[in-house]
């Protein structure tokens, strides 16, 4: 039995309240519905998920990778019973998130995107009360809380107020809280956003340990490197759709060959597309507005030729970047957009 299974999971957020009549004179143009509005759907509706099918195996470290607005947080919200799906089904640890939310909550631990500790309680109370909500008596919870604080290197803060902790320490407290009731499935929503590099590395270490203990971990991130280094399998999502799902190695092999040279032009990129394709060594080239994407085996050597060709066609180069074949280039090739 998979730890998590979603079928045709769909979430549509209703349109925000219509603007007040008197404000319309100031903004005569109606804001058009975003491109994600469903065909035939009400204008202004936001379709966050368009029928997501996912299977996460027991004990797997699973990554949900995608840019902001891809539907990652909505997916986590549905799987953690905090958001109701519009349609489709989701099973977590054998329980249905819609019809058995209580059973799902018993099985999961959640680390939110932004730390949301109970600020009226001190650090250790945060853990002991959270354990109590799961029926764990203080005699069991207190030693377990102290052990977790020790493991997460914040035991010196046990009696501190939450507000006295740094962002990284609060994030660790959130991890301890997610673990205090020993859940089998742990969800982490962008756990390393806003952390300094050192704290991020130590968090990775913690996550690897949890994984080694046999827990199922689902983590969202928009950091390629993080997904690559930690996850057994990665789902790449964008605009509410699953684009790719496989191990990091397979996904990287699936990335279009060669280095990605991304060139931003002062003119329209499609004007120079053909001449650039003719440059020797270019595997593939595509244009999107002012952005020209060129894939080549030895990208660095081609930079000067590409600039030259572009300028000859009256489109001076304003920016240029090189990316090695990676999840990033795969993502760009699949979506036409960069991840961050």
């Amino acid at each position: 039995m998979p730890a998590i299974e979603t079928r045709a999971l769909r979430k549509v957020y209703p349109a925000p309240a219509a603007p007040k009549r008197r404000r319309r004179s100031a903004q005569p143009e109606r804001v058009p519905a975003p491109p994600s509005a469903p065909p035939g759907g009400a204008p202004g509706e936001i379709v966050a998920l368009k029928g997501l099918d996912l299977d996460v195996h027991e004990g797997e470290f699973f990554g949900l990778l995608g840019p902001n607005g891809a539907g990652k947080t909505t997916t986590i919200g549905i799987l953690t019973t905090r958001v109701l799906a519009t349609s489709g089904s989701a099973i977590v640890g054998g329980a249905n998130v819609t019809t058995q939310p209580v059973q799902v909550r018993q099985r999961i631990g959640v680390v939110p995107q932004r730390p949301n500790p109970d600020r009226s309680l001190n650090v250790v109370e945060n853990l002991v009360f959270h354990a109590a909500y799961f029926g764990i008596p203080a005699s069991v919870a207190v030693p377990r809380a102290n052990q977790l604080l020790e493991q997460l290197s914040i035991s010196d803060k046990a009696q501190a107020k939450v507000d006295e902790m740094s962002g990284g320490q609060q994030q660790r407290l959130m991890i301890a809280r997610a673990l205090i009731h020993e859940p089998r499935v742990i969800f982490l929503d962008e756990p390393t956003v806003g952390l300094d590099p050192q704290t991020r590395l130590s968090l990775w270490e913690i996550l690897r340990t949890l994984h080694a203990e046999g827990r199922t971990i689902v983590m969202t991130t928009h950091y390629m490197e993080e997904a690559d280094k930690l996850c057994d399998r990665i789902a790449i999502v964008d605009r509410g759709e699953l684009l790719e799902l496989d191990t990091p190695d397979v996904l990287k092999r699936r990335a279009p060959g060669g280095t990605l040279v991304e060139v931003t032009l002062a003119g329209t990129a499609s004007d120079v597309l053909e001449p650039v394709r003719a440059v020797s060594g270019v595997l593939r080239a595509e244009a999107q507005g002012p952005v020209l994407r060129v894939y080549a085996d030895h990208g660095g050597r081609l930079v000067s030729s590409i600039i030259q060709v572009a300028e000859e066609h009256g489109a001076p180069v304003t920016n240029i970047s090189l990316t090695e074949p990676s999840l990033e280039t795969l993502f760009v090739a699949r979506t036409g957009r960069k991840l961050d």
């Binding site: 099985r107 500790p117 309680l121 009360f129 493991q151 290197s153 809280r177 913690i206 046999g214």
Partner: protein, 272 residues
């Protein structure tokens, strides 16, 4: 991170009884309220205290009002502090939790139906309402001196009114705290709570409004009228008051109404 000592085989989740989660949530609220007791008392007793000093002590001393006024005032003041305390004890944390800090998330992840979390909040606020009311009597005695015609022989009735009134107003606080946008919370006080206090028959008995019949019947939509009148009937039966049965029936209806809308509104905020 040191080597872990967690068991290799993860434990199977076990069903937790709803009552044990409810009690854990309640223990949390009691713990927090205990830490904030001085602030809680200042927040809820300041206004009644000021009223007691001005209307229960200064004005009678200046002979602007008769000494009988104190007798009519006391049950009303009790109702005011109960109302304020019950509403604020739930509305303010809700506004904060859902508006900014999202602190309630850890309780929303507790393995109970979401409505249980809301019901516990209302219950905790109800206790705080009763406690606030209990503090008023000794304070009133201190400020106003002996109050003629005050009787404690109907303590049971006082308790029933206090419990029902607190339930109604903490449920109202749940509704307001989850339905009002955080930036409009100031409006809650000026548009809802202030009129409710002033037209709640706290500072005058309902029968006194016989002189302005329109107001007399309009104020009946104000749930506070029933708490004030109920307290009047139980504490100072000599002052004209509504029959207890009317008060109880009205408070039960009002509680049910606010409870329904409060829980519904909480659920809407809690689950996206």
């Amino acid at each position: 991170m040191t080597a872990t000592t967690l068991p290799a085989a993860l434990p199977e989740p076990h069903r937790v009884p709803v009552t044990s989660v409810f009690l854990a949530l309640l223990r949390r609220d009691i713990r927090v309220a205990g830490k904030e007791l001085p602030f809680f008392l200042i927040r809820t007793l300041m206004q009644p205290l000021l009223f007691l000093v001005v209307f229960g002590y200064l004005l009678p001393k200046m002979n602007f009002v008769g000494s009988g006024y104190q007798t009519a005032l006391l049950p009303g003041i009790l109702a005011v502090s109960l109302t304020l305390s019950a509403i604020q004890s739930v509305a303010l944390p809700m506004v904060q939790d859902f508006g900014w800090t999202k602190e309630i998330e850890d309780r929303l992840l507790a393995p109970v139906p979401t409505r249980v979390v809301a019901a516990e909040k209302i219950f905790a606020a109800m206790i705080q309402g009763v406690i606030a009311a209990a503090f008023v009597l000794p304070i009133a005695r201190l400020v106003m001196g002996p109050i003629p015609e005050l009787t404690l022989s109907h303590a049971g009735e006082v308790l029933v009114i206090a419990l029902l009134g607190s339930l109604a107003f903490s449920a109202l606080g749940m509704w307001l705290g989850t339905a009002i946008a955080p930036q409009h919370i100031g409006l809650m006080f000026s548009v809802i709570i202030a009129p409710m206090l002033f037209f709640g028959c706290a500072y005058y008995p309902w029968r006194g409004l016989d002189v302005v019949p329109i107001v007399k019947y309009l104020v009946l939509v104000n749930p506070m009228v029933y708490v004030a009148e109920g307290m009047r009937g139980a504490l100072t039966p000599a002052v004209p008051h509504m029959p207890l049965a009317v008060v109880v029936v009205a408070l039960v209806i009002v509680s049910w109404f606010f409870w329904t809308f409060g829980l519904r509104s909480f659920y809407k905020r809690a689950i996206g």
